[in-house]
């Protein structure tokens, strides 16, 4: 409560703020809180069936021997996906941003090209890469054949997750590049000049001037990256389907447990159990993001 409200009527501000808050409350916040409540019930996809309290049964089921392997696998995949896609994406984006920040001819064109997949959307991106990694007749298969192997790519248990991460990075790196480019243009040229006077080489300039000065952009990108990689199960769904154990992410598990993987087959699924998965994911995400953000903020303050 810093300054007083200078306008004549506080009511108009309260009205629009309240409408906004109510909208978010009803369609985002209430459903999110209800996940916790419903995770203690046996609610199903079919409407108007009786809903009963079942206590911790859904959580017990999550950790029961019948489901534990499936769920641990999904947890492991989620962690790998989030960590690798965020980390690699930031390094790649930084490299591309530094490259494009030099006064190259046509740099706006290159920047536009890197951002393009964002506009094309997940299905177009998914189809393009399914075509390229098509095990029977794609160009990737031809390259692999030179080395005497013919993997199934997205159908290969050992490759699928890596390939999905690769496509994810291809398609979202443009957003980070644009954020980094904006950050790079805010770095005063004098810093590079004094680095030159001190005899810094290219790597030292990058490490000692560019990266520290970009710290706020890095924090923003990491935050966006974590949130995106945890919600971005769209690509895994498009490329490998909802029930592929190699790319089974927790969020996809929520979808396939709650809806049976498609809209029509899932109306009798146990959505209470799916809510319990959602809560487990929430706890993992909350801990991971809290640790990462604390570390980055502290680092940012130190630089």
């Amino acid at each position: 409560m810093a300054a007083g409200f200078p306008f004549p009527r506080r009511g108009s501000m309260r009205l629009t703020f309240g409408l906004g808050a109510a909208f978010i409350g009803v369609f985002a916040l209430a459903p999110a809180l209800a996940v916790l409540v419903l995770s203690f019930t046996d609610i199903r996809g079919l409407p108007f069936l009786p809903v009963n309290w079942v206590g911790l049964q859904n959580y017990a089921q999550f950790f029961s021997s019948g489901h534990l392997d499936y769920n641990l696998n999904a947890i492991k995949n989620t962690m790998v996906y989030a960590v690798i896609s965020t980390a690699v994406q930031i390094v790649v984006a930084l490299g591309i941003a530094v490259l494009l920040n030099q006064r190259l001819r046509g740099h706006t064109f290159y920047r536009a090209i890197v951002f393009l997949p964002t506009i094309l959307g997940v299905t177009v991106t998914g189809l393009i890469w399914s075509l390229i990694f098509n095990p029977n007749s794609g160009p990737a298969a031809s390259i692999w054949r030179w080395f005497g192997s013919s993997p199934a790519f997205f159908g290969d248990q050992h490759m699928a997750l890596g390939l999905v991460i690769f496509v994810q990075i291809w398609s979202v790196v443009g957003i980070s590049v644009v954020i980094f480019l904006a950050g790079l243009q805010g770095i005063p040229a004098e810093l590079y000049e004094s680095a030159d006077i001190d005899g810094a080489n290219g790597w030292q300039r990058l490490r000692l001037v560019t990266v520290p000065m970009l710290a706020p952009s890095v924090t923003a990108t990491v935050l966006l990256g974590i949130v995106a990689s945890l919600q971005n199960y769209q690509l895994a769904y498009v490329l490998t389907g909802p029930n592929n154990s190699a790319t089974q992410l927790l969020s996809l598990a929520i979808f396939s447990q709650g809806f049976g993987g498609s809209a029509t087959s899932g109306l009798a699924q146990s959505q209470g159990y799916a809510c319990a998965i959602s809560m487990v994911q929430f706890v993992i995400v909350a801990i991971a993001s809290f640790l990462v953000m604390t570390y980055l903020k502290r680092r940012e303050a130190r630089l």
Binding site: A2, A3, F5, P6, F17, G20, F23, I24, V26, A28, L29, A30, P31, A32, A34, V35, L38, N101, Q102, T108, R111, I113, V114, F115, L116, P117, I119, T123, L127, I128, W129, L131, I132, S137, I175, V178, I179, A182, Q185, A189, L191, Y192, D196, M213, P216, S217, L223, Q231, Q234, Y237, I254, F255, G258, F259, A263, Q271, S278, Q281, F282, S289
Partner: protein
């Protein structure tokens, strides 16, 4: 255009005819272009092959372009309608979310509301809410909005993500004295917000709009859950269903993907300056 603090070649190397720095730079750019353009060109190449040509040589360069795939894909998929649906969903939901972000972020960033600091915290917590696809489905079911375009737009519009955080940070760069001066001149709160603050914060507002639009445009899971009627499908879902129907008919699938991608790329050529340039980076102080 102000001078950009680019990396300049070092003086000692300037005399040499071929500078390794600029050579490796050119190579990097070439690799980058190849990495992004090859998939698109390969898609076009596949789309122009008849079934016989694809079976004969799936990878090779097309010799006699055949547009039959485009005709078939256009006849069998309802792509114009899907694109129309996606544009409506994306525009409406991102507009709604951006408006709500502005209305909530401004008073909070100014401390005009009681408990502003708590709201600030709430904006961050909003990012980390549990995945609510189940409960959003149940909510729409019970409100009678299941399988309606309005219901889908409301759910997607409420997914405001980083919007309020970015905006409340940016609004602080609008001097508070301006509020007082405007109020002194008898400008009402709403008029002040929309005719003074919004234009001043337009880079950040554009960023918030674009980020949310990207999210809606790329959604396929919520559309699958909330819109079972295929005539309401957005593009992502429509093309995905098409892929499910014509599995492994790569020429046809590639043509369908081209049909979908072409208007997007065309629109992007005109819009990219606004989408990419200052806008997206504008809100993050670097």
């Amino acid at each position: 255009m102000s001078a950009r603090p680019g990396v300049r070649p070092r003086r000692s190397r300037r005399a040499k005819p071929l500078r390794p720095a600029s050579f490796s730079r050119a190579l990097s750019v070439l690799l980058l272009l190849l990495f992004y353009l090859f998939p698109l060109l390969f898609l076009l190449n596949t789309a122009l092959k008849s079934n016989a040509a694809f079976d004969g040589n799936p990878v090779g360069l097309v010799t006699r372009p055949d547009f039959g795939n485009f005709v078939t894909a256009w006849d069998r998929g309802d792509f114009a309608a899907y694109i129309g649906n996606s544009v409506v969903y994306t525009g409406a939901a991102a507009l709604m979310g951006t408006l709500v972000s502005v209305l909530m972020a401004f008073p909070v960033s100014r401390g005009y509301l009681r408990g502003s600091r708590w709201w600030q915290l709430a904006f961050v917590l909003l990012l980390f809410l549990p995945n609510a696809i189940i409960t959003q489905f149940q909510l729409l079911l019970r409100l009678g909005l299941y399988d309606t375009q309005l219901g889908y737009i409301l759910i997607m519009g409420a997914g405001i993500g980083v919007g309020p955080i970015l905006l409340s940070g940016y609004f602080k760069s609008v001097p508070q004295e301006l509020d007082e001066a405007a109020a002194m001149d008898g400008v009402s709160y709403w008029r002040y917000l929309f005719t003074f603050v919004v234009p001043l914060a337009s880079p950040a507002i554009a960023t918030v709009f674009i980020l949310q639009a990207i999210g809606v445009w790329n959604d396929i899971i919520l559309a699958t859950i909330l819109l079972p009627d295929s005539s309401k499908s957005p593009l992502t879902l429509g093309l995905f269903a098409f892929q499910g129907t014509y599995t492994s008919q790569w020429g046809l699938l590639a043509a369908a993907t081209m049909i979908v991608a072409a208007p997007l790329v065309a629109a992007y050529v005109f819009l990219q300056r606004y989408l990419v340039s200052g806008a997206l980076g504008g809100a993050v102080k670097g």
